[in-house]
Amino acid sequence: MSSTQEIQSGLAEILEEVAGVTPADATPEKSFTEDLDVDSLSMVEIATAVEDKFGVAIPDDELGNIKTVGDAISYIEKNQG
């Protein structure tokens, strides 16, 4: 089980690698599309990387509901372990 803090920093690493997001910008209130310029294809890459890192698969219908970094953190938190 990863802590909220661990999930946030792990997610920030993924966002930096996949989409060039500066880690300090990957805060919970940020919208992937509006604030971080992450497009839909990059979201698919991020979902794959999340599965590798946290063992949490995000089905396509759930991926559409994840709008912000905070949404992703909560989803991973709820579904891990």
């Binding site: 996949v18 989409a19 060039g20 294809l41 990059s42 698919v44 890459e45 794959t48």
Partner: protein, 411 residues
């Protein structure tokens, strides 16, 4: 039809000889070779082990995240296009994006992505295949990536005609300007497919040089001992505009694109017509299009890939369509064969030859082929030759029987 001439206002390239146009041209005139022997383990079983790799990794010339989403053929296209765009100054001239078009050809497309993602599929399954697979492998991808880079909204096109693709893109750009479909057109060609599968395919055709112990001497167009081409990678781009609007914005003009033509051999899927009949028709039609006679042409940058059959067919075409007076260069002797980028890169060389009034030498031409046409031609070798040039022709041919001839004249 617009009656204004079409001019070249920007040049860009990234090649086995250099990461941009000036370094590539300097290396060409200095006689340097871009060819080396592959040392990876996979090459051991291959009869042909040579390659002309890029001198500069495009991933180092682009932002990391941007490079990650582009196939190598797209990366080099963007690098070359951005150099040409900067060189032209068109980006700062306030050209309406709706009047900017792009034509970038490729012979093979995103082969490295296609093959790399097939490995992912085999090893890890379909869910692990990258969501960028399709945009990275599609053959219009390089044109699309360049269009985004320069903000072109007037049309983005991608001719695919094997090793004539880059030249075909230039011809297409000329038509767009003559028909007033755009005011500025960025044209060019790109290729990056150094990978075991294409290498095996070309080797199976017996098309590649097996002079593995002498990489720099392997690509030897028109030489008696030539035994095939050397696969190269890279891209080149040109910015084309109508002369009246280019002059109105004060653009520097490298040369004119005076004419172009394309024909099909109608002979064989891959073998050129042995007398170069279709190639000669293309050259003759391009000269007619330019309003020039064969006597006006001082220089030909030949397609000459160093294959036994192709070079003699082209020599026949040059002789019959132009004559023996012309100074011929086969620059693939140093760059290797950039497939879909070849016609664009060699057009850059033809333009620089006109601008600088110097004809590059053909490396490794020690004993010209016994063929009567090769013997009769004045193929420049040894050192580059100073010459008074007003018009130059670039020939490009592709598997499929595609022939493109382009005619450039001095500014």
């Amino acid at each position: 039809m617009s009656t204004s001439d079409v001019v070249v206002t920007g040049l860009g390239a990234t090649t086995p000889l250099g990461g941009d146009v000036p370094s590539t041209w300097d290396a060409l005139l200095a006689g340097r070779s871009g060819v080396s022997r592959i040392t990876d383990d996979w090459i051991k079983e291959y009869p042909a082990q040579l390659v002309a790799r890029l001198s500069t990794d495009p991933a180092e010339q682009l932002d990391r995240v941007r490079a990650r989403r582009l196939d190598r053929s797209q990366q080099v296209a963007v690098v070359a296009a951005e150099e040409a765009w900067r060189d032209s100054g068109a980006g700062d001239a306030g050209v309406d994006p709706l009047r900017i078009a792009v034509v970038i050809g490729t012979g093979i497309g995103g082969a490295l992505t296609l093959l790399g993602q097939d490995d992912v599929l085999e090893e890890k399954g379909p869910k692990r295949v990258s969501p960028f697979t399709i945009p990275m492998l599609m053959p219009n991808g390089p044109a699309a990536a360049v269009g985004l880079s320069i903000g072109a909204k007037g049309g983005v096109h991608a001719p695919v005609s094997a090793c004539a693709s880059g030249a075909e893109a230039i011809r297409w750009g000329l038509d767009l300007l003559r028909f007033d479909r755009a005011d500025v057109v960025l044209v060019g060609g790109t290729e990056a497919c150094v990978h075991p599968l294409p290498m095996a395919g070309f080797a199976a055709m017996r098309a590649m040089s097996t002079r593995n112990d002498e990489p720099e001497r392997a690509s030897r167009p028109f030489d008696k001992a030539r035994d095939g081409f050397v696969l190269g990678e890279g891209a080149a781009a040109l910015v084309l505009e109508r002369e009246d609007s280019a002059k109105a914005r004060g653009a520097r003009i490298h040369a004119r694109l005076a004419g172009a033509a394309g024909t099909a051999d109608g002979y064989d899927l891959v073998a050129p017509h042995p007398e170069g009949e279709g190639a000669a028709r293309a050259i003759t039609a391009a000269l007619r299009d330019a309003g020039l006679s064969p006597a006006d042409v001082g220089h030909v940058n030949a397609h000459a890939t160093s294959t036994p059959v192709g070079d003699t067919a082209e020599a026949a075409a040059i002789r019959s369509a132009i004559g023996d007076h012309v100074l011929v260069s086969a620059t693939k002797s140093q760059t290797g064969h950039l497939l879909g980028a070849a016609g664009a890169l060699e057009s850059v060389f033809a333009i620089l030859a006109l601008r600088e009034q110097v004809v590059p030498a053909t490396a490794n031409l020690e004993n010209p082929d016994d063929d009567a046409n090769v013997q009769a031609l004045d193929i420049v070798r040894g050192e580059p030759r100073r010459a008074s040039l007003t018009a130059a022709v670039n020939d490009s041919f592709g598997f499929g029987g595609h022939n493109i001839a382009l005619v450039f004249t001095t500014a």
